[in-house]
Symmetry: C2
Subunit: 492 residues, 2 copies
């Protein structure tokens, strides 16, 4: 490897090292950290964000990038890596070190307020810090000098290249088509009472762990823990952690949430073999990441084929609840369509209404058409008008998600995009590896994972979501495959 | 506060912030980290050790210290703080940044080798990395340009001012006196079979947690977890973590190990109110730290008074095992004197033979009179000659402790010093707060903790161990109080 290229990868590895440290602290904050450590942790994370930013904006590294961009001896993949890194860091450079540290410290404080607000079930506890965070995010959006509106400037962070103008028609069509499908289902016929019995925590945990191993999650390079909100975090090469939560009165939560996070983790664990910190070893985007979690959770885990093959495992863990139930009945109960208040417990179809509501609200907050002090009222209005639900308290309403308290504005749409991509990819996988969907055994899943490795994992962050989608399916992002999937599954 | 003094505390706080980050990673490594993350973690810790060293040796900070040393307007406490910081950092400055990072990285690797060696039950797996680490530690000792031998130069890290020449006679007397006491006990009469029944993990955990709360461990500023070796780590202001381990076939492990770590933690949690990173908020030394853990574990937790007052709690958690047992019988069973192979499971008296063996071995390793390749053989010889035990395998022998694999040479003697200090302090506490030892209730413990706060906690690191000991007991370190305690307890 030439000397400049070695320097390039070394510098990215140094950044990755600092990011790993920061990720460990973030994971610890969500899973372990005692409350009184909040202020110190905020200082630690702010300090790290400053160190990371310093390395990311090091002028000598930009000189190196310029030199490498003119180096004709590099391979296409190397050229693409350098171009992508330059793109990402050009954006980072628009923020000052001081600003980055300020946002980091304030974000940690807002997260702590969110925890308190949830405990007290009161949005007003969060409001002051949230308002300030929104102002900081508006300032950040302005600093990016993005061609679109302020919201688009932030959206770019999570879904590079995506704009509200592109999203709006996708959401419109999706919402309309889904509401047609939902209205064709006789909601009264659905019954998930089987899931709403007592299922002991320890058996749920063991079942979930068994299937993580079964699918190939590498426990020598990762772990699963309990946290308030399930998440996946890639700490480093060899350390990919997922979390889950268990409701002893609802079997429908943990298993599929575990599969969901596992989908993220399989992606990250496969990226471990590439150069740490370089676009080669990073995931493509949040929406592509979400396509992976949705694929395993829904296209595999909630499929008729999977349940008919694996229901006996559920029965063996919960004989008292399930021994007299048929696989078909169980399949129906885990696929009940019913509007509810909580996004993370929503079914596959109404889920996208939850996302749409958040998308509209965060657009308003960042573009300045919705004041933070009116957020709760507007949230409750939209739940009434779109899902016909009365929000009984803040914890089941505007305080349910951590994203905004984490400063993540522009993140939510990637959930819906993930489902759309999952459906587009799933059709191709069924065509390319037809047996696997019938087999639903380890050999079949191995084939699917190999396919994912070839078409998605190994591409790292070298292509945008849409480029990847066209490479795979021949089409850009669209809702058609998802609608076909939904009709096929739910209209029968 | 004057401007320089503000700068002084700010700089120390910045260092403390980095140390907090490093401590979180260390805790995570022991409690959570998957094996394949070892290399990345080693890199992260090495990077942090470099950043910390950079701040610790910043020439501008040394200029500031010089200015402050001449500032007559400071209080005695402030002057002492500055003097102590200067002392500590003068020593740090003798190591280069490169050397510090090298030692850190190699220490992490040696720790990983130790885990592997334990798994494979083979000292030879550890040997190559351990040999290299010993060489690095000898180099470090040389760099300190200490007046004593190489071992003394390292010992100073854990017990400032202490030398082998001072330790040797203390150990000699202690070993002789203890062996007299032990030979006066009829070992055959002892019986701890009550403890060696099945005690469910979850009940042991609950009992331990109940007593941590009872004694005043603040769970909003700390936590308890399970790890291979129990330890306490002060991550930051508001985040003091302890770990324990549970043996379902031995009730004698977890409860007293929890009390032990709690003793460390109460000390650290009380230091939280002072300036982070300054000597005011640091513990005096490892031996004084150990005096705290030993005090709660042995002088309280294994006392006749505590057991007679609290045995009913044990009975309520383990009715099947303990309902027909008397408090006196239980007291005897938790105070059985019997040589065994494992230091951390040793009784109060033979414990010091374990320490003495390690002290002699590490002296040899660092001073160059014992080669690492002969360590295992020499270990086994000493266990035969001093405790009459045959070491059946490496895991129960030379691989049992993590200290050397952590690069901690000179640490072990502080365990014995801690017991001696605990006995010296305990006599004074019994004189100053006589009722508390009889009461053994929350009000009494509160009084003891207030005493500890006045005489030890609030002194931070402003005095050396021996200065503190003289302030408290009127005498320097000696083994007399411990021997009186041992005779009184075990000769009856």
């Amino acid at each position: 490897m030439n000397k400049d290229l070695l320097k390039y990868y070394d510098h990215l590895k140094e950044i990755a090292n600092l990011v790993s440290i920061s990720s460990t602290l973030h994971w610890d904050q969500e899973v372990n950290m005692p409350l009184k450590a909040s202020t110190s942790r905020a200082n630690q994370l702010s300090l790290l964000s400053g160190l990371i930013h310093e390395k990311q904006t090091d002028p000598r590294f930009f000189d190196l990038l310029m030199r490498l961009q003119e180096d004709e001896s590099l391979s296409d993949k190397q050229k693409r890596s350098i171009q992508k890194t330059k793109q990402i860091l050009d954006r980072t450079k628009k923020l000052s070190n001081e600003f980055v540290r300020k946002v980091s410290a304030h974000t940690s404080n807002t997260f702590t307020s969110w925890l308190k607000a949830r405990e007290e079930n009161s949005f007003s506890v969060l409001l002051p810090n949230l308002s300030m965070l929104i102002e900081l995010k508006q300032e950040e959006a302005t600093l990016y000098k993005h061609s679109g509106n302020l919201y688009d400037a932030l959206l770019h962070e999570y879904e590079p290249g995506m704009t509200s103008a592109q999203l709006d028609p996708v959401f419109s069509k999706l919402t309309k088509d889904l509401s047609d499908i939902i209205s064709s289902i006789d909601l009264k016929e659905d019954d998930d009472s089987i899931l709403r019995q007592f299922y002991p925590k320890s058996s749920q945990w063991k079942l979930g762990m068994e299937y993580l191993k079964f699918f190939g999650f590498d426990f020598s390079a990762g772990r699963q823990d309990i946290s308030e909100h399930p998440f996946t975090i890639a700490i480093s090469n060899g350390d990919i952690r997922i979390t889950t939560r268990i409701d002893e009165n609802n079997l429908g939560e943990m298993f599929w949430s575990s599969l969901h996070e596992m989908g993220h983790a399989l992606y990250e664990q496969s990226l471990m073999k590439y150069e740490a910190g370089a676009p080669e070893s990073e995931s493509c985007s949040l929406s592509i990441h979400e396509s992976q979690s949705r694929f395993w959770e829904n296209h595999i885990g909630r499929s008729k084929e999977f349940i008919s093959k694996h229901f006996s495992s559920f029965q063996s863990y919960f004989p008292e609840n399930l021994s007299s139930i048929s696989a078909d009945t169980f399949y129906s109960s885990i696929n009940v369509i019913k509007p509810n208040l909580i996004r993370t417990s929503a079914d596959e179809l109404t889920y996208h209404t939850h996302v749409y509501i958040r998308y509209k609200l965060e657009q308003g907050l960042i573009n300045g058409t919705l004041e933070a002090k009116n957020l709760k009222e507007e949230w409750n209005n939209l739940y009434k008008s779109h899902l016909g639900l009365i929000v009984p308290n803040d914890r089941s309403g505007v305080l349910q998600d951590v994203h905004w308290a984490h400063g993540s504005f522009g993140y939510f749409p990637t959930y819906t995009l993930g489902s759309l991509y999952a459906a587009q990819f799933s059709e191709v996988i069924q065509r390319d590896v037809p047996g696997a969907f019938k087999q639903m055994d380890q050999a079949g899943f191995r084939k699917i994972i190999n396919w994912l490795d070839d078409h998605i994992y190994s591409k790292g962050r070298l292509f945008d979501s849409n480029e990847l989608c066209i490479q795979i399916s021949g089409e850009p992002l669209n809702a058609d495959a998802f609608i076909r999937y939904a009709k096929n599954k739910y209209s029968s």
